[in-house]
């Protein structure tokens, strides 16, 4: 018996595999910054045993980087009849369902790396801050198409708060 969370009847739409590169880039930047920060105690104290701190940080971050392709593959979404389903996370799994009528605004953004790869992120914003639906790594054309589709769906199911 599997103990992982799963919704058996849902066929998930996955994000572009190219998003792995975006995620790897940002994680690499974070890794460099963290390792650099972890080195500070060594240079301040000249106590060689403190090299353990950056070493541990580096090992953790390499593990994080190694799991990024699988984490990207774990992101999925599906447009059901009346709600948007979204899942992400490998170690910490999260499934969200948002009725289209709850949409307050939908936002398409692109970071610098995403722009080079022709990807966009789509934010689906509700009145609840904790809904947190952000579909990353959509092809730019798909993202705009999805945005317009979501807006028209929300229009037909308009609701108050």
């Amino acid at each position: 018996m599997t103990k992982r969370l799963d919704l058996p009847d849902v066929v998930w739409r996955r994000v572009s595999p190219k998003y792995v590169i975006v995620d790897l880039t940002s994680a690499a930047v974070v890794t460099i910054a963290l390792v650099a920060a972890a080195c500070i105690p060594v240079f301040v104290s000249h106590f060689t045993a403190l090299w353990a701190i950056p070493a541990v940080v580096l090992v953790i971050m390499i593990l994080v980087l190694a799991f990024i392709p699988r984490r990207v593959r774990a992101i999925g979404y599906q447009l059901r009849d009346d709600d948007l389903l979204f899942r992400r996370g490998l170690l910490f799994q999260r499934f969200v369902s948002v009725p289209y009528g709850r949409m307050q605004l939908v936002d398409v953004t692109r970071g610098p790396v995403s722009r080079i790869l022709g990807l966009s992120d789509l934010h689906f914003v509700t009145a609840a801050a904790s809904s947190g639906v952000m579909i990353p790594g959509l092809l730019a054309g798909d993202a705009e198409e999805l945005r317009d589709h979501l807006v028209s769906l929300a229009e037909t199911r308009r609701a108050g708060l």
Binding site: S97, G101, V133, L161
Partner: protein
């Protein structure tokens, strides 16, 4: 004057008497006041004074305290007053008192003129659809709120404003600090206008004709006194008695037994022991800011909760409290996004509870007001709580009482609750029998805690999204956490240590039910279908 098209309209605070006002009204209905007729109106003439009142009082008291010694010397004829540090003595000695006094007078005149013009340009308009306020002499500002997005209407009467018979009307529109404030109106207008706005917002098209308001035969002073004393501005507008009475003894007791007080006492005792052990007083001194902070929190809680009342009106729940500053808020139906009943640990012995809600509007960021906005019942026993819940969630009906009662004090799977499985006892060693959820028609109940007991109720029509999550520890035990997202507030509707399969079923079922509830929810125009709420 006539060049300004808005100023040419009925901009007086009270429109001229005897107009055929019914013809002016957008829907041809009779309203309680003449302020909601779609024309621009001005506010109470004392508005600038009341808004800037604190500053003026502070300045005046500063000057009086400065001049006090002079006055005493002058009256007693003390010849030895030669304190050069005192500004007035200094000025008198240099013969510059008269020019300085003239300068002060000029500044005062300028302030008064500025106040007058700022009052002239500050006006509001209420139509069928929106409420608009524009103000500002140099920096113009314009605010507009849609009536169907009203989350609550609040009448606040600060002590100072009460002396002038004025009240502030705050119209909460969904959003962070998205209020439209009408400060100040005369007290009688404020209450009438609230009824009018609620009536316009409710979508009632066929409004029953209101009987003409009887002119108040009392004189000015008697009317002021009556208004000052009256807890409700308009007694006829509050036909329903408060369903809960909070006795002052219970209020004091609830504050003494509150978790914050408990923390405060623990801190003080710890500090005393630490000081005694170390033989130094500095540990106690380090605690002073904490003690002051917690103490002022408790004091504010006390004054804000005095004279509490809650009653049902046709246009929603009316909650009032305050001793010096009276606040009286009407929440239209369907404006409450989640409700939590909870019990601080020491309240268990007297059996008291408090009720908090999440609302879509954040009135303003003032700390003192935060309690008013989210605490619906500061303290009450189980019966009080059930009465308040019946008011807040009228759609649940009487048959929900059992489930609610079981949610507040019960354990086990009675009344339809689904509890955590046995293997969750590592995560919920004491509260496994309480930790569970139940579904009522139109609402989700989440029950938690054996020591700090909590019940969260979320109306399905107000749910923004549903989520389930699972971390590595929960995965080992086949558990999951369910989340019901509502607008931001003190209530977080989530429940951990739920069986994995049950959580998935919950997710599937609730996401469908929410869509259905949203579709059939009428509350943005709550009386549009013609039947009284």
């Amino acid at each position: 004057m006539t060049s300004d098209p808005q100023a040419a309209g009925a901009v007086n605070e009270d429109a001229p008497q005897g107009d055929p006002i019914d013809d002016l009204l957008p829907t041809g209905a009779v309203l309680a006041t003449r302020l909601a007729d779609g024309e621009w109106h001005r506010l109470h003439p004392a508005t600038p004074l009341l808004r800037g009142g604190i500053v003026i009082i502070a300045l005046a008291s500063y000057f009086i305290s400065q001049a006090r010694q002079q006055l005493i010397d002058f009256v007693l004829g003390d010849p030895h007053a030669h304190d050069d540090s005192d500004p007035i003595t200094l000025l008198t000695n240099h013969g510059r008192l008269i020019p300085v006094l003239l300068g002060i007078a000029l500044v005062l005149i300028l302030i008064v003129v500025g106040f007058y013009f700022s009052w002239r340009v500050h006006s509001f308009r209420i139509t069928d659809e929106v409420v608009e306020v524009r103000s500002g002499l140099i920096r113009r500002s314009y605010r507009k709120g849609r009536l169907d997005r009203i989350q609550g209407i609040n009448i606040v009467r600060p002590f100072f404003a009460r002396l002038f018979g004025a009240a502030r009307l705050e119209i909460d529109v969904a959003g962070h600090d998205a209020n439209v404030r009408l400060d100040y109106l005369s007290s009688s207008n404020a209450d009438g206008l609230r009824r009018d706005i609620l009536r316009l917002a409710s979508g009632t098209r066929e409004r029953e004709a209101e009987q003409a308001r009887v002119a108040d035969p009392r004189g000015f002073v008697e009317q002021r006194v009556a208004e000052f004393i009256a807890p409700e501005l308009d007694p006829s507008a509050a036909p329903a008695e408060s369903v809960v009475r909070v006795h002052i003894g219970r209020l004091i007791g609830s504050i003494l037994l509150h978790d914050t007080t408990f923390t405060l006492i623990v801190l003080i005792v710890a500090a005393a022991i630490a000081s005694a052990a170390l033989g130094r007083g500095f540990v106690a001194i380090a605690l002073v800011p904490f003690v002051l902070g917690l103490g002022s929190f408790l004091l504010r809680r006390f004054t804000k909760s005095l004279r509490y009342s809650i009653a049902a009106t046709p246009d929603g729940v009316r909650v009032g409290f305050g001793l010096l500053t009276l606040s009286n808020e009407t929440l239209p139906p369907g404006r409450i996004h989640s409700v939590q009943v909870r019990q601080p640990i020491l309240w268990r012995f007297p059996g008291w509870w408090e009720v908090k809600v999440n609302r879509a509007s954040k009135s303003n960021a003032k700390g003192a007001d935060a309690q008013r906005n989210t605490t619906i019942l500061p303290v009450g026993n189980l019966e009080d709580v059930l009465r308040v819940l019946a008011l807040l969630l009228p759609s649940l009906g009487a048959e929900a009482t059992d489930a609610l009662r079981s949610g507040i004090v019960g354990t086990g799977d009675a009344s339809g609750f689904t509890n955590s499985p046995r293997r969750a006892r590592l995560f919920r060693p004491l509260s496994r029998q309480r930790n569970g959820f139940a579904s009522l028609p139109g609402a989700i109940l989440l029950r938690e805690g054996a020591v700090w007991r909590r019940l969260t109720v979320v109306p399905e029509a107000r749910v923004q999204s549903v989520a389930i999550t699972q971390g590595p520890a929960y995965r080992v035990f086949g558990l999951a956490r369910v989340h019901v997202h509502t607008v931001v507030g003190p209530v977080r509707a989530e429940l951990g240590a739920v069986d994995r399969d049950v959580a998935i079923q919950f997710f599937d079922r609730v996401s469908l039910e929410v869509v259905e509830a949203v579709r059939s929810d009428p509350s943005h125009r709550w009386r549009a279908d013609g039947k009284p709420a």
